[in-house]
C-alpha cells in the first residue's frame, strides 16, 4: 500500500509541473501585454519599454517561467499589481465562499437526484421514470446563467422570499448566510441533479437484476427494504466518482454563478483578474485550483484503492 501511495505521489509531480507550465503559458499568451494594461492610456512606446524592463517582461518566456516557479516553490505566489494583495491572501479570503457554495450545491444536487433515481429505478420504464428521464435531459440543456436569472426573478423580485444578490460570512450570521446561498446553490444543483439521477438510476437498475436481489425477493423482503438496504449501497460506487469529478465542474459553474449572485468567491476573483489582466492573480489562482483538483483526484484514487484491493495491487 505504501509503495502504491508513493508511486501515485510521483505521478503527481509531472502533472503539477505541466499544470504550472500551461497556466503560465496561457496567462502570458493572453492578448494585452501587462505593461500596456498597467499604463492604460499613457502607454507610449518609451514608457511601455521601460516598464517591461522593470517587470522583467523583456526576458525570454522560459526564464520568466522558471523565476515564477522558483518563487512558488518558496511559497511566494506573487502580488496583484492592482490591489497589492498576495495571491494567497486573496485566495484565502475567497476560498471559504466557493467551498461552501460547492458543498451546498452538491448536497442539493444529491438531495434532488438520489430520491428521484430510487423512485425511477423502482419502477423502471414506468410513466414516472420516463417523465423524469426526459425532464433530466431538458434540465441538462438549461444553461446556468439562464436558470440563475429565472430563479432571481421568481424568488427575489416576484415573491421576495430570498435575496437576489449578496453575501454575509457564516461566522457573522449563519441563517442570513444560508439565505444568500440558497439561490446560487440551487442554480448549480439544477445542473447537477440530472447527472446524479441518471447514473444512480442505471446502476440501481443493473443491481436490481443481480441474483442476490432475486434471492432477497424470494425470501419475501419488502421492495422498500430491498431497494434501500440491499441495492442502494452497492450501486453508489459510480455516484461517489461522479460526485468527486463534479467538484471540477462546479468550479467552472461557480465562475458564472458567483458573478451573477455577487458572491465573493474564487470564481469572481478569476473573472475580475481576467477582466483587469491581473496576470499574477490569474496565474496563481488557476494554478491553485488546478492543483486542488489534481489532489482531489489523487484522494479519490486512494479511496478506490482502499475500497477495492484489485486497484492497489495493479490488477484492475
Amino acid at each position: 500500500m505504501l509503495g502504491f501511495v508513493a508511486r501515485r505521489l510521483l505521478y503527481l509531480l509531472p502533472v503539477l509541473l505541466a499544470v504550472s507550465l500551461l497556466t503560465f503559458l496561457i496567462a502570458s499568451l493572453l492578448p494585452g501585454d501587462l505593461a500596456y494594461v498597467i499604463l492604460g492610456d499613457q502607454a507610449t512606446p518609451e514608457k511601455v519599454e521601460a516598464l517591461r524592463h522593470d517587470m522583467g517582461l523583456d526576458q525570454p518566456i522560459l526564464i520568466r517561467y522558471l523565476g515564477w516557479l522558483g518563487h512558488i516553490l518558496q511559497g511566494d505566489f506573487g502580488r496583484s499589481f492592482r490591489t497589492g494583495q498576495t495571491v494567497l491572501q486573496a485566495v484565502g479570503e475567497r476560498l471559504p465562499v466557493s467551498l461552501e457554495l460547492m458543498i451546498l450545491a452538491e448536497f442539493l444536487g444529491l438531495l434532488i437526484g438520489v430520491p428521484l433515481a430510487i423512485a425511477c429505478a423502482a419502477k423502471a420504464g414506468g410513466a414516472f421514470d420516463r417523465f423524469m428521464t426526459s425532464t433530466a435531459f431538458g434540465m441538462l440543456s438549461v444553461p446556468t446563467f439562464l436558470s440563475a436569472i429565472l430563479l432571481i426573478y421568481l424568488f427575489a423580485v416576484e415573491l421576495h422570499w430570498l435575496p437576489a444578490t449578496g453575501y454575509v460570512p457564516l461566522s457573522e450570521d449563519p441563517i442570513g448566510n444560508l439565505r444568500f446561498f440558497v439561490l446560487p446553490a440551487l442554480t448549480l444543483a439544477l445542473a447537477e441533479w440530472p447527472g446524479i439521477m441518471r447514473v444512480l438510476r442505471s446502476d440501481l437498475i443493473t443491481t436490481l437484476q443481480e441474483d442476490y436481489i432475486a434471492l432477497a425477493r424470494a425470501k419475501g423482503l419488502t421492495p422498500r427494504r430491498i431497494l434501500f438496504v440491499h441495492a442502494l449501497k452497492p450501486s453508489s460506487l459510480t455516484l461517489v466518482t461522479i460526485t468527486g469529478i463534479n467538484i471540477g465542474r462546479l468550479i467552472g459553474g461557480a465562475v458564472i454563478v458567483e458573478t451573477i449572485f455577487a458572491l465573493p468567491g474564487i470564481g469572481r476573483l478569476l473573472v475580475s483578474a481576467i477582466g483587469t489582466r491581473d496576470l499574477i492573480i490569474l496565474q496563481g489562482v488557476v494554478l491553485l485550483v488546478a492543483a486542488g483538483f489534481v489532489i482531489m483526484n489523487f484522494v479519490v484514487d486512494m479511496l478506490y484503492a482502499v475500497l477495492d484491493p484489485r486497484i492497489r495491487h495493479g490488477h484492475a
Binding site: G32, G40, D41, P45, G84, I149, G166, Y167, A262, S272
Partner: protein
C-alpha cells in the same frame, strides 16, 4: 485624451444642463437623519492609494466621495464651491492659483488637515521615484507650495482658467489623504484609506462589501444624513437590476447599453431614474496619413453616411443622444454653428465616386460585445454608401499603444465629461501632441487652441471652440457618434443624489425619505 476604456475620471464639468427624474435636490428642511443605503456598483474597487491603483474608476470615485474631501466641490449649477478650501484667487496669466483652507478640519485618524497635508499629497504623486500612473494627470501642475498653515499655492506649467472646477472630481489626484495614515500603514494603506470625508471606512470584505459609517466629527455640521452606506460590487447587469427591484440595493450604476432596465425603472413608481447629460462624446479618429483616409472627400463621405438616430435605436433602444461636436449639450460651449456635416448618404456616394478608387480600410474595435455591435453598425452604414470597412477586434488595452504609434486607420476614443474643454481638446488636436491621433496639422487650429487656453472670457473662448469644431467637422478628421449620458437607478426613497458629474454616483449627502 482618453481611450474608450471603462470610464475613468479627471474632473467634472463646468456648466451643465442636466435633469434628474425623481431625485431632486429638495427643500432645505426635508432632509431626514439616519438610516442606511446599499449601493450596487459595476466593479470591484482595487484600493485607494494612488501609488498602487493609479487612477480611480467610477466605482472607486463613489467611495472616495464619501471617505474623502476635495479642495472644491461642484454645485448644482456646475460652479465650484468651497469644501476643504474656503476661497481661491489666481494670477493674471492663470498660471498661479492660491487657495485658503478651512481651519479646524481633522482626518479620521486625528491628523490635522492643513496646507502641508495638501502639499504632501501632491508631492507624493508627482515624485518621479514613485512612478505613479496618476502623475500623468497632474503634469500641467509644476508644484504646490504651502507658505503657511492654511494657504496652498498651485504653480502651473500651462495656464488653467478653470483649476478650481478641475479639482472638484473625486479622483485619485484630487482627494486628500491623511499623510500619517499612508506613512504608518505602508502597503496596507490602499485598503485602509483615511480622509476627512463625511464617512469613515468601517470594514471592507474583498469582492463583497465596503461598510462606511457616519463621521460624527464631520466639519460640515448636520451632514451627512445617513448612518451607514454599504457599497457592493454587483458585476452582473441583470442581477444588479434585480437586486434594486427586490430591495437588496437602493442605488445602482447603469448605462444606456442596458436600456431595458432603464425603461423598466422609468415605469416603476418605486424606482427613480437619475440621468445626467454630461459634456464630451464617444468619438473616433481618422488617421489622415493613410489612404484612402488621406483624402478629405472620403472622410466627409464616411461622416455623412452616419445615421446616428438609427445607430442609437439599434444599440441603445434610442437612449443615446447623437453628437455633432466634441462638447455636447452638457458643455458650456454652445455653438450656433458647429460646422457639422449633414447626414446625406446620397452626397456621400457622390463624394466617394469623385474619389474614384475603391474605399477599403480597417477600423479598430474593442473585442467586447459593445465594441463589436458598434463596429458592425458602422460597417453597415458605410457599406450603404460604397465603402468597405473591415473590423479589427483588439483587446481594450492595446488601443492606446496602437493609437500612440498611429498604427490604425480608424480608432475609437472618448472625450470624457470634464469641467473644461481645454485639457482634452488641446491634447487631441494640437500639432505634436501624442494623442493628436488624426496626424493632422493646421496652424489655424493650433492658434485657436492656444488662444482658448489663455483666455478667461467665456464668450471669447466659446467663439474659439466653435471655430475649432467647424475646422474639425469640415475637414472630418475626427467624428462623434453619441454624447455622454450617465445613469443611476435608485429606490424612490433615496433623495439628495446630486448630478452625476463625470459619471460619478455621489451618495455622500443622500438621505432616505
Amino acid at each position: 485624451m482618453k481611450a474608450p476604456t471603462r470610464p475613468r475620471k479627471l474632473a467634472p464639468i463646468f456648466l451643465v444642463t442636466a435633469f434628474a427624474i425623481g431625485a431632486s435636490i429638495g427643500t432645505a428642511h426635508a432632509q431626514k437623519q439616519g438610516g442606511s443605503i446599499t449601493v450596487g456598483q459595476e466593479l470591484d474597487i482595487p484600493g485607494f492609494d494612488p501609488l498602487k491603483v493609479g487612477v480611480y474608476d467610477t466605482s472607486a470615485n463613489t467611495a472616495a466621495a464619501a471617505i474623502f474631501d476635495t479642495l472644491t466641490g461642484m454645485d448644482d449649477k456646475g460652479e465650484p464651491e468651497p469644501r476643504l478650501a474656503l476661497s481661491w484667487s489666481h494670477s493674471d496669466d492663470f498660471k498661479t492659483w492660491t487657495f485658503k483652507l478651512r481651519p479646524g478640519v481633522k482626518f479620521h485618524d486625528g491628523t490635522p488637515f492643513n496646507a502641508q497635508a495638501v502639499k504632501e499629497n501632491f508631492d507624493r504623486q508627482k515624485d518621479p521615484a514613485n512612478k505613479c500612473r496618476c502623475a500623468f494627470y497632474i503634469a500641467f501642475i509644476h508644484d504646490v507650495q504651502a507658505p503657511d498653515e492654511l494657504t496652498v499655492v498651485y504653480n502651473l506649467n500651462d495656464p488653467s482658467v478653470n483649476l478650481p472646477a478641475i479639482l472638484t472630481i473625486q479622483s485619485s489626484n484630487n482627494v486628500i489623504h491623511s499623510p500619517t495614515a499612508w506613512k504608518t500603514k505602508g502597503d496596507d494603506y490602499s485598503r485602509n484609506p483615511v480622509g476627512t470625508g463625511p464617512y469613515i471606512l468601517k470594514s471592507w470584505t474583498a469582492g463583497d462589501r465596503m461598510v462606511l459609517e457616519k463621521n460624527p466629527d464631520y466639519w460640515n455640521k448636520g451632514h451627512p444624513y445617513l448612518d451607514r452606506i454599504i457599497l457592493k460590487p454587483l458585476p452582473d447587469t441583470q442581477s444588479r437590476f434585480a437586486s434594486l427591484q427586490s430591495g437588496e440595493a437602493d442605488v445602482i450604476w447603469d448605462d444606456e447599453y442596458d436600456a431595458d432596465s432603464i425603461l423598466k425603472a422609468q415605469k416603476d413608481p418605486k424606482l427613480a431614474v437619475n440621468t445626467y447629460k454630461g459634456s464630451g462624446a464617444a468619438v473616433y479618429a481618422f488617421n489622415t496619413k493613410t489612404p484612402p483616409l488621406d483624402d478629405v472627400r472620403v472622410r466627409q463621405a464616411l461622416v455623412m453616411a452616419l445615421d446616428r438616430k438609427k445607430m442609437s435605436q439599434a444599440i441603445t433602444n434610442g437612449l443615446a443622444r447623437p453628437a455633432t461636436n466634441p462638447y455636447g449639450d452638457g458643455s458650456w460651449v454652445k455653438c450656433k454653428d458647429d460646422g457639422a456635416l449633414p447626414e446625406d448618404p446620397d452626397k456621400a456616394k457622390v463624394l466617394l465616386k469623385a474619389y474614384g478608387k475603391p474605399v477599403d480600410f480597417k477600423m479598430l474595435v474593442t473585442a467586447t460585445p459593445r465594441g463589436r455591435t458598434v463596429g458592425q453598425v458602422l460597417q453597415q452604414l458605410w457599406k450603404r454608401v460604397g465603402a468597405n470597412m473591415e473590423i479589427e477586434q483588439v483587446d481594450q488595452a492595446t488601443i492606446p499603444p496602437r493609437a500612440f504609434m498611429r498604427q490604425f486607420q480608424v480608432t475609437p476614443w472618448r472625450i470624457v465629461d470634464l469641467a473644461d474643454p481645454d485639457p482634452q481638446m488641446y491634447a487631441n488636436f494640437h500639432t505634436g501632441s501624442p494623442v493628436a491621433l488624426a496626424n493632422y496639422s493646421d496652424p489655424e487650429l493650433d492658434r485657436l487652441l492656444e488662444h482658448a487656453r489663455n483666455t478667461a472670457d467665456i464668450a471669447k473662448r466659446t467663439e474659439d471652440y466653435c471655430a475649432i469644431s467647424r475646422i474639425i467637422n469640415q475637414q472630418a478628421i475626427w467624428f462623434w457618434t453619441f454624447q455622454n449620458t450617465y445613469y443611476s437607478l435608485s429606490s424612490a426613497r433615496v433623495k439628495g443624489l446630486p448630478k452625476m458629474y463625470n459619471g460619478v454616483i455621489d451618495v455622500s449627502d443622500a438621505w432616505l425619505e
